[in-house]
C-alpha cells in the first residue's frame, strides 16, 4: 500500500497550486465572476494547454491516461481558489459520460475537441419534482422518423449558457421514476426549440432553466444505449460527487487557514481571541473535520472505478455524507469565529461558506446520501 502522490502527480499539484495563486487572488475572482460568461476563456485555454482537460481520460480516447486521483488533485486546488471555470460539468460529467459510453464518432466529434479546450458541456438531469432521484425524469423523447423529438423541462443546469452541447437525460419508455427507459441525448446548445433562462447562483457560478419544445435530434444524438442510461448517469454523478468532495476539501483547508490566521491576530479583551479555549477547541474540530473529509475523498477517489457498482456507490455516498458534515461544520465555524466580518461580502470567508453550502445541496444532501449508503450497506 502506498497513498503518496507520484512525481508526476506532485507536479500536477504544483501546477494547479500555481494556477490558483496566479489567477485566483480573491479580488480577481470577483472580477471573473462579474464577466458575461462568469469564467475566463484564457483560463480555460490554459487548462487545455496544461493538459488538465484530458488528463483523466484513456490514451485511446485522446487523453493522457490519468484517472480520478488526477481529478482529485486539481479539484482540490480549484476549491482553494473557488475557481469558476466549468471543469465539473464539461470534463467530469460531460467528458466522463462520452468517454464511458460514447461511440467512436462521438468521441472524435466531442471528446477530442473538449480536451483541446474547444468544446464545453452541461449535463441536464434535474427536474422541478425530481430532487435527488436521477430516475425521476419526465422530459420525454419520442421517436420522430429516424431521430427523436424532446419536450419538457430541466432545471438548475450548470454551464448551460456556455455549453456547446448539452447532455440531456430523457424518458424514452417506462413510467415516472422507473430506472429503465431513460436515454441520454447530445443536444446542441443552440438547437431549435430549446430556450434558456440563465441566472447566476449563490456561489457565483452560472446555471439555467431549460425548456425543450419539440427539439429534434438525429439517431446519432443518442449517447450509449436507448432506455439504458440510468447506470451511466448514476456513475457519472458519482464521479462528479467525488470531484466535488475534492473541491470541498480545498475549500475547507482554505477557510480553516483564514480562520486560524484571524483568531491569532484579532484581539479582544487584550489578547488574541485564539487564546480562548472555547475557540481553540472549535478550531481543532475544524481541522479534524477537514482531515476526515480529505480521507473520505481519497478513499472515494481510489474506489470510484471499482468493478463492483455497490462499492462505487457506497464510496461516493460515504464521501458525500462526510463532506456535507465537515463542510457545514468548517463553514459555519469560520463565520462564527470571524464574528460579523464572517458574514460580509468583503471577506473570502463568506464565499467559501457559500460554496460549501451549495456543494452539500448538489447531487444529494448529507441526508440523501446517508439513506442511500444505508440502503446499499444493509442490502449487501
Amino acid at each position: 500500500m502506498d497513498l503518496s502522490l507520484s512525481d508526476e502527480q506532485k507536479q500536477l499539484q504544483d501546477a494547479a497550486e500555481r494556477f490558483v495563486r496566479d489567477k485566483y487572488a480573491f479580488e480577481n475572482r470577483r472580477k471573473i465572476a462579474a464577466t458575461e460568461k462568469g469564467w475566463l476563456p484564457e483560463n480555460w485555454a490554459q487548462m487545455a494547454e496544461l493538459g488538465w482537460l484530458g488528463m483523466s481520460f484513456k490514451e485511446e480516447d485522446g487523453g493522457y491516461g490519468g484517472g480520478p486521483i488526477e481529478t482529485m488533485i486539481v479539484m482540490e486546488q480549484f476549491g482553494k481558489g473557488l475557481v469558476l471555470e466549468p471543469f465539473l460539468p464539461t470534463v467530469v460529467l460531460g467528458g466522463g459520460m462520452i468517454a464511458a459510453v460514447g461511440s467512436a464518432a462521438q468521441k472524435e466529434a466531442l471528446l477530442a475537441p473538449m480536451i483541446e479546450g474547444k468544446k464545453q458541456f452541461a449535463f441536464a438531469w434535474l427536474e422541478r419534482q425530481s430532487r435527488y432521484n436521477l430516475a425521476d425524469v419526465s422530459l420525454k423523447a419520442t421517436k420522430e422518423g429516424s431521430g427523436w423529438s424532446l419536450s419538457g423541462h430541466k432545471g438548475v443546469v450548470y454551464n448551460a449558457a456556455s455549453a456547446d452541447q448539452i447532455i440531456v437525460l430523457a424518458r424514452t419508455a417506462g413510467s415516472a421514476r422507473e430506472e429503465k427507459g431513460l436515454t441520454l441525448f447530445v443536444v446542441d446548445g443552440n438547437a431549435k426549440g430549446l430556450s434558456r433562462r440563465d441566472y447566476p447562483t449563490q456561489d457565483s457560478l452560472r446555471a439555467s432553466e431549460l425548456t425543450f419544445d419539440k427539439v429534434s435530434v438525429g439517431a446519432d444524438a443518442v449517447l450509449g444505449t436507448v432506455d439504458g442510461a440510468f447506470p451511466v448517469a448514476e456513475d457519472a454523478v458519482d464521479r462528479a460527487i467525488v470531484a466535488l468532495c475534492a473541491e470541498a476539501t480545498g475549500c475547507m483547508d482554505a477557510v480553516n487557514a483564514a480562520t486560524l490566521e484571524y483568531i491569532k491576530t484579532r484581539k479582544q479583551f487584550g489578547v488574541p481571541i485564539g487564546k480562548f479555549q472555547v475557540l481553540q477547541h472549535r478550531m481543532v474540530d475544524c481541522f479534524t473535520n477537514a482531515q476526515e473529509a480529505r480521507s473520505m475523498t481519497l478513499m472515494a477517489s481510489l474506489k470510484i472505478e471499482d468493478k463492483d457498482p455497490v462499492v462505487r456507490h457506497k464510496a461516493a455516498s460515504g464521501a458525500k455524507v462526510q463532506i456535507g458534515k465537515s463542510g457545514k461544520f468548517c463553514g459555519q465555524s469560520a463565520v462564527q469565529m470571524h464574528g460579523g466580518m464572517g458574514v460580509t461580502d468583503e471577506l473570502s470567508v463568506s464565499h467559501y461558506f457559500k460554496r460549501l453550502t451549495m456543494i452539500d445541496l448538489m447531487f444529494g444532501t448529507q441526508q440523501h446520501h446517508l439513506t442511500r449508503y444505508s440502503n446499499l450497506a444493509m442490502a449487501a
Binding site: 434535474l126 422541478r128 419534482q129 425530481s130 430532487r131 435527488y132 432521484n133 425521476d136 432545471g155 438548475v156 415516472a176 421514476r177 433562462r197 441566472y199 447566476p200 447562483t201 449563490q202 456561489d203 457560478l205 446555471a207 432553466e209 484581539k267 479582544q268 479583551f269 487584550g270 481571541i273 480562548f276 472555547v278 475557540l279 459555519q332 463565520v335 462564527q336 464574528g339 460579523g340 464572517g342 458574514v343 460580509t344 461580502d345 468583503e346 463568506s350 464565499h351 461558506f353 457559500k354 453550502t357 451549495m358 445541496l361 448538489m362 444532501t365 441526508q367 446517508l370 439513506t371
Partner: protein
C-alpha cells in the same frame, strides 16, 4: 399554576387579532408572508398604526405611556402579531433607547424623546460595536471631548443596523480615556443630520445592505444629549443589552418559521411523494419543533418571573443562545427542503423589488440568502460564546 389563558386573556387575543387584521396594510402583510424585504415606509406604516393604538411600546410601563400589559398579554400580543404576519417591531427605539431614557434619562429627555418613540415618528439606530470592539465592547474608542456645552465626537461605529434610514443614533462613547475601560464610557444621543456623520454601507454575504459603518468626524453634540451621568454609560449599556437579549429569542417568529417549513416540505416532492413524508426529514422537523417548544416554555418561565416584579437576569442569555440556534436551524432545514433550487441567485427580485419571475417556487430563492443572513444571530447582541461566558460566571459561579 395554569397554562390555559383566562377568558379575559382570550378576549384580549381576539382584540389583538381584530386590530392587526384591520390595521396591518395588506401589502406589508404580503411582504412578510412571502419573506420579502421591507422598506422603511413599510415598517413605519405598521408601527405608526400600533403607536396610535398605544401598543407599539407594549413592553413599557403605564407610567411612561406603555399599555401596562401583563406578561401573559405580552406573550399573546407577540404571538398574534407573528401569526398575522405583522413585521417585527424595530427594537432600537422601542426596546433599547426608550427604556434607557425612561430609566436613566432626565425629565426633559423623557418629554423630548419618548413620545416620538411611542408614535414611531423618529427612527433610531444603535452605535455600539466598533471595528476593534465587538465581543469586548468596553474597549470602545469613539471619543467624546467636552468643549463648553458640547461634546466633540470622533471615531466610528460598525454593524449599525438600518442606520441609513435613521433620524437619531444612540452611542456609547469614551469620555475618559484614563479610567478603567468600563468606567470612562458615556451614553449619548446624536441627531443623524449633524454635520460630520457619514454612513457607509456594508454588503453582507446574501448581497444585501442592512448594516453600515458610521463615521464621526468632529461631530458637535449638545451636552444635554447625555443620558445618565458622564462616565456611567456602561450601566445603561448593560441594561440595554439585557433587554436586547430577551427579544432575541424570537419565539413567535420561530414558531411561524417551523410552520412555513412544514408548508414547504408538503409542497416539495421526494420520490413522487411530499417531502414531509420522508421519515428522515420529518424527524428533523419534529426535533426542531421540540426545541422551539422548550424555548417557548423557558421564555414563559422568565415572563412569569418578571410578572412577580423581577428584571430579566443572566438566565436570559440562555434564551438568546437557544433562540438564535433555532432560527439558524429553521433556515438550514428550509434550504435542505428546497434542494438544488436553492442555488439560483436573483438579486433583482431579492433586493430591488423587480417583477422578475422567481426560478422555481417563490420560497426557493429566499432559502439560501436567509440561511446566510441568519448566521448573524449567534454573533450579534453578544456572540453565543460571550453569552455562555456570562452564564458560567453569573449563574454557575465558575
Amino acid at each position: 399554576m395554569d397554562l390555559a389563558f383566562t377568558a379575559e386573556e382570550q378576549k384580549f387575543a381576539d382584540e389583538v387579532r381584530a386590530f392587526v387584521k384591520a390595521n396591518l396594510p395588506a401589502d406589508v402583510r404580503d411582504k412578510v408572508k412571502n419573506g420579502k424585504h421591507l422598506g422603511r415606509d413599510d415598517y413605519m406604516r405598521w408601527q405608526q398604526a400600533l403607536g396610535k393604538k398605544g401598543w407599539l411600546v407594549y413592553t413599557w410601563p403605564k407610567k411612561y405611556g406603555g399599555p401596562g400589559f401583563t406578561p401573559a398579554q405580552r406573550y399573546i400580543f407577540e404571538n398574534v402579531c407573528a401569526e398575522e404576519y405583522a413585521p417585527g417591531i424595530i427594537p432600537f427605539g422601542t426596546k433599547m433607547v426608550g427604556p434607557v431614557i425612561y430609566t436613566f434619562g432626565s425629565e426633559e429627555q423623557k418629554q423630548k424623546y419618548l413620545p416620538a418613540i411611542r408614535e414611531s415618528t423618529v427612527w433610531w439606530c444603535q452605535g455600539y460595536s466598533e471595528p476593534g470592539s465587538g465581543s469586548d465592547l468596553a474597549s470602545l474608542r469613539t471619543k467624546a471631548e467636552k468643549q463648553g456645552d458640547h461634546y466633540i465626537v470622533n471615531g466610528s461605529k460598525t454593524w449599525n443596523t438600518m442606520g441609513h434610514w435613521a433620524d437619531w443614533i444612540f452611542c456609547l462613547v469614551r469620555t475618559d480615556s484614563k479610567a478603567k475601560p468600563q468606567e470612562g464610557i458615556s451614553f449619548l444621543l446624536i441627531d443623524m443630520k449633524t454635520p460630520g456623520i457619514t454612513v457607509k454601507p456594508i454588503i453582507m454575504a446574501d448581497g444585501g445592505h442592512e448594516v453600515n459603518e458610521v463615521f464621526f468626524d468632529n461631530v458637535k453634540v449638545p451636552v444635554a444629549n447625555l443620558v445618565g451621568k458622564e462616565n456611567e454609560g456602561w450601566t445603561c449599556a448593560k441594561f440595554l443589552l439585557a433587554n436586547e437579549r430577551l427579544g432575541i429569542a424570537a419565539v413567535p417568529q420561530s414558531k411561524r418559521g417551523v410552520e412555513a417549513l412544514k408548508d414547504i416540505a408538503r409542497a416539495e416532492q421526494d420520490n413522487g411523494k411530499p417531502l414531509i413524508e420522508n421519515p428522515g426529514f420529518a424527524e428533523k422537523i419534529a426535533d426542531l419543533e421540540i426545541q422551539v417548544t422548550a424555548l417557548e416554555f423557558t421564555e414563559l418561565r422568565v415572563l412569569s418571573q418578571m410578572a412577580q416584579g423581577g428584571q430579566p437576569g443572566p438566565e436570559v442569555s440562555g434564551l438568546k443562545i437557544r433562540g438564535s440556534e433555532i432560527q439558524q436551524r429553521i433556515t438550514e432545514l428550509t434550504m435542505e427542503a428546497v434542494g438544488e433550487y436553492a442555488a439560483p441567485y436573483l438579486p433583482g427580485l431579492l433586493w430591488h423589488g423587480s417583477n422578475e419571475e422567481p426560478v422555481g417556487p417563490e420560497y426557493a430563492h429566499l432559502a439560501a440568502p436567509r440561511y446566510f443572513n441568519t448566521r448573524k444571530t449567534t454573533i450579534y447582541g453578544g456572540s453565543n460564546e460571550i453569552q455562555k461566558g456570562i452564564i458560567s460566571k453569573m449563574v454557575l459561579g465558575l
